[in-house]
Symmetry: C2
């Protein structure tokens, strides 16, 4: 079943201990869509400038991703410049040039309207809510956010959280949302804000899912699941790890039709593997080289690594 993702399509200039790259293809929607494309049909809503060339679009279309909803605007695409020299787990932002993304107004093509799975990547929650309202028939809605919206636009974010079946954020964001230092209490606090389930990412330490019974339309679901991350000898570029996680996770979910606890759990493993693949090269390079067979094999290895 099709996923509609709305979010940024951008260029990233990056420096990490492994090297330096100028203006490689990036953005939350790009990383999400690439990962999800290994599991299901993906449709992107976003905006780019005149620096977005056919070769960039081909990165998406060659994976079967529908780019009809990527609007071309006059000017330059969103550009982010950052480095991970101090800490591989935390980017230091050097520049954020919103460019055409600054006046982004998501427009959903008619041909996208039957998408059953909606993913609201990390953008202004006002836009996230607009897109959600424009897709009233979406069967499942998931989304992401970040510290900026939590801190400065909380009143706009809260109505979005109430619309979500699945919120996917990192552990710092879950603490920030609730003011709770303890991870379990923070997770419960986030669920109290409205999302039916919550996936918290811990970087190299994996991820955890927290459920309300509503997410599975059953009363006896377990409350939590804890998934590992693939151990890596080298992280080349952490940019987009979280979006790749979300893409692999949600792509697998959408490919399974019915949302059961078993499917949710397995989707976490697919998310972990896509996140860990993505960081093994700069930008989208590693995901462009991978295959569904490699992803499946990595999931199998992750199971062997963690199961008795």
């Amino acid at each position: 079943m099709s996923i509609l993702v709305v979010g940024s399509v951008a260029f990233d200039s990056l420096e990490t201990p492994s090297g330096k790259r100028e203006r490689v293809l990036g953005g939350a929607a790009t990383h999400f869509a690439l990962a999800a494309s290994f599991f299901t049909k993906v449709r992107v809503v976003g905006v780019v400038g005149d620096d977005f060339l056919p070769e960039h679009e081909a990165v998406l279309t060659s994976r079967g991703i529908d780019t009809t909803g990527i609007e071309r605007a006059e000017g330059k695409s969103f550009h982010w410049k950052g480095e991970y020299l101090r800490d591989l787990n935390e980017a230091d932002t050097l520049a954020t040039d919103l460019n055409v993304f600054g006046s982004f107004e998501p427009k959903i093509p008619e041909s996208y309207k039957d998408s059953e799975y909606l993913f609201l990547a990390n953008i202004d929650p006002v836009l996230q809510l607009q897109v959600r309202k424009a897709m009233p028939n979406a069967k499942l809605v998931a989304g992401d956010t970040m510290n900026y919206w939590i801190n400065a636009h909380r009143e706009n974010l809260l109505p979005v959280l109430r619309e979500l079946d699945i919120l996917i954020i990192n552990d710092k964001e879950s603490r920030l949302l609730t003011g709770e230092a303890n991870g379990l209490k923070a997770a419960q606090g986030v669920l109290d804000l409205g999302p039916k389930s919550l996936v918290v990412k811990y970087g190299e330490h994996g991820s955890a899912a927290f459920f309300t019974p509503e997410v599975f339309r059953t009363r006896d679901c377990r409350k939590m699941f804890r998934a590992p991350a693939t151990p890596l000898e080298e992280v080349v570029d952490p940019t987009g790890a979280g979006d790749s996680f979300a893409g692999g996770f949600y792509g697998y979910l959408a490919s399974q039709g019915e949302l059961t606890e078993e499917v949710f759990r397995r989707a976490m493993f697919y998310g972990c593997v896509c996140g860990s693949l993505n960081v093994q090269d700069f930008g989208t390079e590693r995901m462009q080289r991978t295959t569904r067979a490699e992803i499946d094999e990595q999931v199998q290895k992750l199971i062997e690594l963690t199961h008795l």
Copy 2:
């Protein structure tokens, strides 16, 4: 089969966000022995002063722990004072009064000599090596160490590492031992120093095991296993978590007779549960209240939390 543990029996004065305690029973050998006692016979070699009263000894003997090897010396027992107010994952040491422990010379009672499992808790590596040499028939030898010995007594520590079947340390110590920031490379670097296997603890993020084929006397063992930790709503007192982990882990191993990969993996779960139980109250209080049935139940929950 019996475990002989050599290490500190001490009193701890603690302050954490949950409260304050003066001179509660602690020490690596104490925490280790209590956790291991739920699985097998445990014998302790240590030294205490005249402040070690029958009520303290009863904490051990009531769990069937053999205290014949706890020497009584003139003076006071080892006393550590620390707080976890800044960070629950890292103690700030306020005082370390070695007292009778400063001149500790481990003496192994004749009745201990047939112990098949030896655990060298975190003490001066010179003493660890002496004990190891005094127990030439031990079937399996495991041990711990800390940043102080790694930094200031590396030349004494290295021969100990070569004697170990299993080294159990935390992730900071594994990086410190090797100078490697990457966890996988650090683990390989530690194995290169001689231990046949390595267990790395990540606090609330669980633990990982790294194997050489020699540890299982087989050539086709997997290289790694990753175990979770029990999520907790409150950590009351982190002191002794690592020793309780080691005790649960090694106690379960010793109770199983043969060391297979399956046993090693399951032992990691038992270690995780004992570590997480221990931090739920001050000092040894929580472990004094637990039962083997509760530990088994918690292990089962940890499996459900993490297995597809």
